[in-house]
């Protein structure tokens, strides 16, 4: 029983560490990528994945070792999972409509043609 508990702690710790590494990776992408749209891609997706790993690990830890199933933490997981990508999308759309230029090596701009067709 002691050993199982130790192994569970190790797995939860590794989950937290992996989430932190994914978050650091998103910060790295935020620094290195060349364009608002690519940077927003890095920031949104990987930061959401990292925070979901950490929150799920915290939920499991509190459920197994402290015997407290937290509805607040579940609500937080669902909320972050829904709103993270939505915020990224809103931000990217605002950038496009306010005329932030694309990276000069981008090869495709579907939204430009679509909005041209819409205007006739």
């Amino acid at each position: 029983m002691e050993m199982i508990s130790k192994a569970g702690e190790l797995i939860i710790g590794l989950m937290v560490l992996f989430g932190a590494l994914v978050g650091a990776l998103s910060a790295f992408g935020l620094i290195r990528l060349p364009d608002v749209y690519l940077r927003s891609h890095a920031a949104t997706k990987s930061a959401t994945l990292g925070v979901l790993f950490i929150l799920v690990a915290a939920f499991l830890y509190f459920m197994i070792y402290l015997e407290h199933t937290s509805a607040k933490l579940l609500l937080g997981i669902v909320f972050v999972f829904i709103t993270g990508p939505v915020a990224g999308h809103l931000n990217g759309r605002a950038a496009y409509r306010s005329g932030v230029p694309l990276w000069n090596k981008s090869v495709q701009d579907d939204l430009k043609e679509a909005s041209k067709e819409e205007q006739g």
Binding site: V16, L17, G23, A24, S26, T44, G76, F79, V86, A87
Partner: protein
């Protein structure tokens, strides 16, 4: 064992916030800064979850929810402000 891993994750997350601060201060356009701010909020939220596990307390779960909601509302308001120039629009009675 677990606390060592948790403290290491806290250090890594702090470095990630530093990286976002670079983009927040330098970013060429406003949307860069907003994306960096959003990421800082999300990473701060996960740091608070790690601190909860480290201290074995449940009192900070409210803060997790609060920071999540505030980050989303802030990003939405900033995006609307950039797109249209206003946050709240008037109705039909203009």
């Amino acid at each position: 064992m677990l606390s060592t891993l948790l403290i290491a994750s806290l250090v890594i997350l702090s470095l990630a916030i530093l990286g976002c601060m670079y983009r927040l201060l330098k970013g060429p356009s406003i949307t860069d800064r907003i994306a960096a701010l959003d990421t800082i909020g999300v990473i701060l939220l996960s740091m608070i979850a790690v601190i909860c596990m480290l201290l074995k307390t449940q009192n900070y779960f409210d803060i997790i929810l609060l920071i999540g909601i505030l980050t989303f509302i802030g990003t939405t308001a900033f995006a609307r402000y950039i797109e249209r120039g206003v946050v709240f629009e008037h109705g039909d009675d203009k």
